[in-house]
């Protein structure tokens, strides 16, 4: 303890320790993941996925979604690139769900705020949602709801990627760390700041009184509110910290975070260029249902 025996001291102590911990973890883990990723660009991922046609494809696509960065500006090239190269529609959706929702930044943030078990629960259930909802969409046979021009083109999966030297891979990973830290440092400070405030000032019985399972509609409501909010895993952290402060239970909080990252209105707007609105509704419905069930499950288990 740097500042013992006072509320302010306890809060400051928590704040300093936790921000330092999260920044170090972020830097180390993002560096490692980006370095690995330089060996596994989306184009190589696609070559792997275009050969798999069963449930294995959904599993692989979800796992690969962890290490692949995602921004809504690459949603269209990814979707077109996957489908035109013959990756099944359900497998493509598994990837589209996992990529923004499950990644190293979410892992580090949850780890820093709530510890290992919550971080792993989030990643694990996120993967299951991506696999199952992709497999379900695949079973529905809704290829006719993709804009026809997409299937009229077909392309080779053998891209002529530039070769990277070890030095370039390190530069790539370092650049990625700086990029992400620049984007998220403020969210980390705010998120941890809220946590520190609770830690120092809010008495435990206040949390205990309100942190029960809550009303039955808590989870679906959290998912609905999450859809128009669009953010990456880091940006949603201050909100997540505030929610738990208000006594919202963990299952509801995780469902909210999943909804914000995986279901986003701007991304739906972009996807309208390549698929019919009905397919977007099916996509949102299946994924939303998966998130709601996960929220209830963890409210029941974690209490």
């Amino acid at each position: 303890m740097f500042f013992p025996n006072t509320h302010l001291g306890s809060a400051l102590d928590f704040f300093v320790y936790d921000t330092a911990k999260i920044f170090i973890l972020l830097a180390v883990i993002i560096f490692a993941v980006s370095f690995i990723r330089s060996f596994l660009p989306a184009e190589r991922v696609r070559a792997i996925l275009s050969r798999k046609h069963t449930f294995i494809g959904n599993v692989l696509a979800s796992l690969l979604g962890i290490v692949t960065p995602f921004c809504s500006c690459s949603a269209i090239p990814l979707f077109l690139g996957f489908i035109e190269a013959g990756v099944p529609l359900g497998v493509t959706f598994s990837f589209l769900v996992a990529s923004p929702m499950v990644n190293e930044v979410a892992l580090v943030m949850l780890l820093g705020l709530f510890g290992w078990s919550i971080a792993l629960i989030y990643i694990g259930s996120g993967l299951v949602i991506a696999m199952v909802s992709g497999a379900a969409i695949g079973k529905l046979k809704v290829e006719n709801l993709v804009e026809p021009f997409v299937y009229e083109r077909s392309i080779s999966v053998n891209a002529d990627l530039p070769r990277l030297s070890g030095r370039e891979r390190i530069a790539y990973a370092r650049g990625y760390v700086t990029d992400i830290l620049k984007k998220v440092w403020l969210y980390v400070m705010v998120g941890v700041g809220v946590g520190a405030w609770i830690h120092g000032y809010v008495p435990m019985d206040f949390l205990a009184r309100y942190a029960g399972n809550g009303a039955w509609y808590g989870v679906p409501l959290a998912v609905l509110i999450g859809i128009p909010l669009y953010s990456n895993a880091a940006g949603v952290i201050p909100l997540v910290a505030a929610l738990t402060e208000k006594g919202v239970s963990m299952g509801t909080t995780l469902a909210f975070m999943m909804s914000v990252t995986a279901l986003s209105l701007p991304e739906f707007m972009i996807l309208k260029r390549v698929m019919k609105p009905k397919l977007i509704l099916i996509f949102a419905g299946v994924v939303g249902l998966g998130i709601i069930l996960t929220g209830y499950l963890f409210n029941a288990i974690l209490g």
């Binding site: 392309i155 002529d160 530039p162």
Partner: protein
């Protein structure tokens, strides 16, 4: 020699476009840098990440933006 920056028009792509123009100037290459925002062009090259720096139609940088030194090295490597 043709040098193109392909992207979806996002800020990252524009940053690469600016850096590439600067790199071409500093390398004293006699060519213009073309900015392409048709995503289908990227997909047709077999790529799925944006932005892309292409030299004579071949990808030299894919999916990330280095500093201007990195852009110069990528251009030199692909014309060598």
């Amino acid at each position: 020699m043709t040098i193109q920056v392909l992207g979806s028009g996002c800020p990252t792509c524009e940053k690469l476009f600016k850096l590439t123009k600067q790199a071409v100037e500093e390398l004293k290459l006699e060519t213009e840098v073309e900015y392409v925002t048709d995503v289908q062009k990227i997909v047709a090259m077999g790529l799925m990440q944006s932005p892309v720096l292409a030299v004579d139609g071949k990808p030299a940088l894919v999916g990330f933006v280095p500093d201007v030194k990195g852009v110069k090295e990528a251009i030199i490597k692909s014309i060598a």
